[in-house]
């Protein structure tokens, strides 16, 4: 019998799909809905110290194979959000708390709050491309990534995932820095920095002008990043970017990902996309004679390196 279960840094997932941070995860009830729809784990919205309303509208542009978003990290602040986590925890899947901050101290403190709120792992958003002073702005050099990971590791006891930006000439250096700083896993990729201009309005459409590109359009970039990182580090890699079918999830697994995250696919297919993707992975494994996920992990590297 094929088995979709996977253990990532001690988190037991019944399948390798996780809800990506920032999508349908501002409220506990929505996270429950996604868990019920089949997600193997849930990553929360990226949470900061204080409440933030995010950028003014438009916050999203729909493109044929992508979304461009500049939500601007809206969130109710860690204190209020604890109640949402408590509610999400009633689902029987691991909850991973995503945090963002402007310095390693702030991030470490938030990670601690997350641990206290009861999450099973913390994900550091070192990669949001459209919030001044946060995300990619502090996660684009290996030195900063290493410093932040180390600070967090010294503060919490739960596993730490570092989510990296593809807006760099070498995501491999960032991944190595995360590993050196003690991160337990890396997550790749966050969105690519982009812009859409309205010729009629003569200005960028997003209220924030710049935003992050996600969805099918970026999948080849995400797969490439995971493939490169897998060759360079020995901690697990979690793949994310443009997955909406089981076959696409398998692409990431074969590139070296131990689990995958899914966000934008919910736009076209709703939360049910998780169940669909899992069934498709299963069908693929049945057809090609795989019985465990580990038999697929990284096989696209065989005969190389």
């Amino acid at each position: 019998m094929t088995n979709l279960a996977v253990d990532i840094c001690g988190l037991r997932m019944k399948n390798p799909t996780m809800l990506a941070s920032g999508v349908l995860d501002e409220t506990g009830k929505s996270m429950l809905v996604v868990a019920k729809a089949g997600a193997g784990a849930i990553v929360t919205k990226s949470i900061g110290k204080e409440p933030r309303v995010g950028h003014s509208g438009p916050t999203i542009v729909e493109l044929p194979q992508a979304l461009l978003n500049a939500m601007g990290l809206p969130n109710p602040g860690i204190e209020a959000y604890a109640a949402e986590i408590a509610e999400a925890k009633t689902a029987e899947v691991p909850i991973i708390g995503s945090v963002f901050g402007g310095s390693e101290q702030e991030i470490a403190e938030l990670a601690k709050n997350m641990q206290e709120a009861g999450v099973e792992a913390v994900e550091l958003n070192l990669s949001c491309p459209h919030a001044k002073g946060y995300g990619a702005e502090i996660g684009s050099t290996p030195e900063m990534v290493e410093t932040i990971c180390r600070a967090v590791k010294e503060t919490v006891t739960i596993p730490v995932f570092a989510k990296l930006t593809p807006n760099t000439s070498s995501i491999v250096s960032l991944a190595k820095a995360a590993e050196k700083g003690g991160a337990d896993a890396v997550v790749a990729i966050n969105t690519l920095k982009g812009m859409v201009i309205s010729p009629e309005a003569k200005m960028p459409v997003l209220g924030n002008r710049y935003g992050g590109l996600s969805g099918p359009a970026i999948r080849p970039i995400g797969v490439r990043c995971v493939y490169e990182i897998y060759e360079a580090v020995s901690i697990p890699v979690i793949g994310v970017g443009g997955i909406s079918t089981g076959r696409e999830a398998v692409e990431y697994l074969m590139a070296g990902a131990k689990a995958v995250q899914i966000g934008t696919a919910i736009w076209k297919e709703g939360p049910e996309v998780f169940g669909k993707i899992c069934r498709e992975i299963q069908d693929f494994m049945d057809e090609f004679g795989y019985t465990k996920l580990s038999e697929m992990t990284g096989v696209a590297h065989h005969g190389r390196t």
Binding site: L24, E26, L32, R52, V53, E62, P76, M203, V205, I266
Partner: protein
């Protein structure tokens, strides 16, 4: 405000209106058919900037989004509170044109705020007015007037849009009388496409699963008329 660009929308659906350089916000479609349109109340920066636009000036539109109303039965009751009448108006017209018997309870703070009274009357609806200050029609809340109207006749379905406290009260009335109900809800809408969670109500999403919900969902909503999320995602009382 009517649009030149073609847009195929049903009553209850909404569009995201972009006022370039200012903001983007949701507006129900208040005219359907060949030339769609919206009807808005000036609330803050965004709607004020919209009001300053001259005819021919460009605004951005995306949508329509969400699930609209559907006509169920022959004897229909509509309850519109304030600008909540906007999404109901095209539905009243459609129902009347289909030969349904239409009662409309139209409420507002004061006479000047009543929306689409004559449009609905012309369409063939029996219009029952209520104002909080009694400047015209029944003096009191639309829910009080609705309670009276409901007592006189049986209805196949109730359609409502307006302040959420009003909707919650109407749900109680509909439940007591065993009348099916459809109501259009408001939450902060940012993405409009069901991914950002800012419009969440009990795990459902106003932008995608709504804005129109039926009595089944409405009864399950623990947050209805009680709490909603603000722009930062904090739960605040209604």
């Amino acid at each position: 405000m009517r649009f030149k660009e073609p847009l195929i929308a049903t009553a209850g659906q909404f569009v995201m209106v972009w006022v370039p350089g200012v903001d983007e916000f949701p507006m129900s479609v208040s005219y359907t058919g060949d030339r769609c349109g919206i009807t808005y109340q000036i609330i803050g920066e965004g709607t004020k900037a919209l009001a300053y636009k001259k005819p021919g000036e460009k605004i951005g539109l995306r949508g329509p989004y969400g699930k609209g109303f559907s006509i169920r039965g022959k004897k229909l009751l509509f309850v519109g509170g304030g600008v909540g009448m906007a999404p109901l108006a095209p539905l009243v017209e459609m129902a009347a044109a289909k030969g349904a018997s239409v009662d409309l309870v139209l409420g507002a703070k004061t006479r000047g705020d009543l929306l689409f009274e004559s449009r609905s009357a012309v369409a063939g609806a029996r219009v029952h007015l209520s104002t909080d200050d009694g400047s015209i029609g029944f003096k009191g809340l639309a829910t009080e007037l609705a309670q009276i109207v409901v007592g006189k006749q049986s209805y196949d379905c109730m359609y409502a849009c307006g302040p959420e406290k009003m909707l919650a009260k109407l749900l109680t009335i509909a439940t007591e009388k065993g009348i099916p109900m459809q109501a259009s809800l408001e939450r902060i809408i940012k993405c409009g496409i069901g991914i950002c969670d800012s419009c969440a109500i009990d795990g459902k999403h106003v932008c995608r699963d709504g804005p129109v919900f039926s009595e089944g969902d409405l009864r399950r909503f623990t947050e209805l008329g009680k709490s909603k999320l603000d722009a930062a995602g904090r739960k605040i009382p209604i």
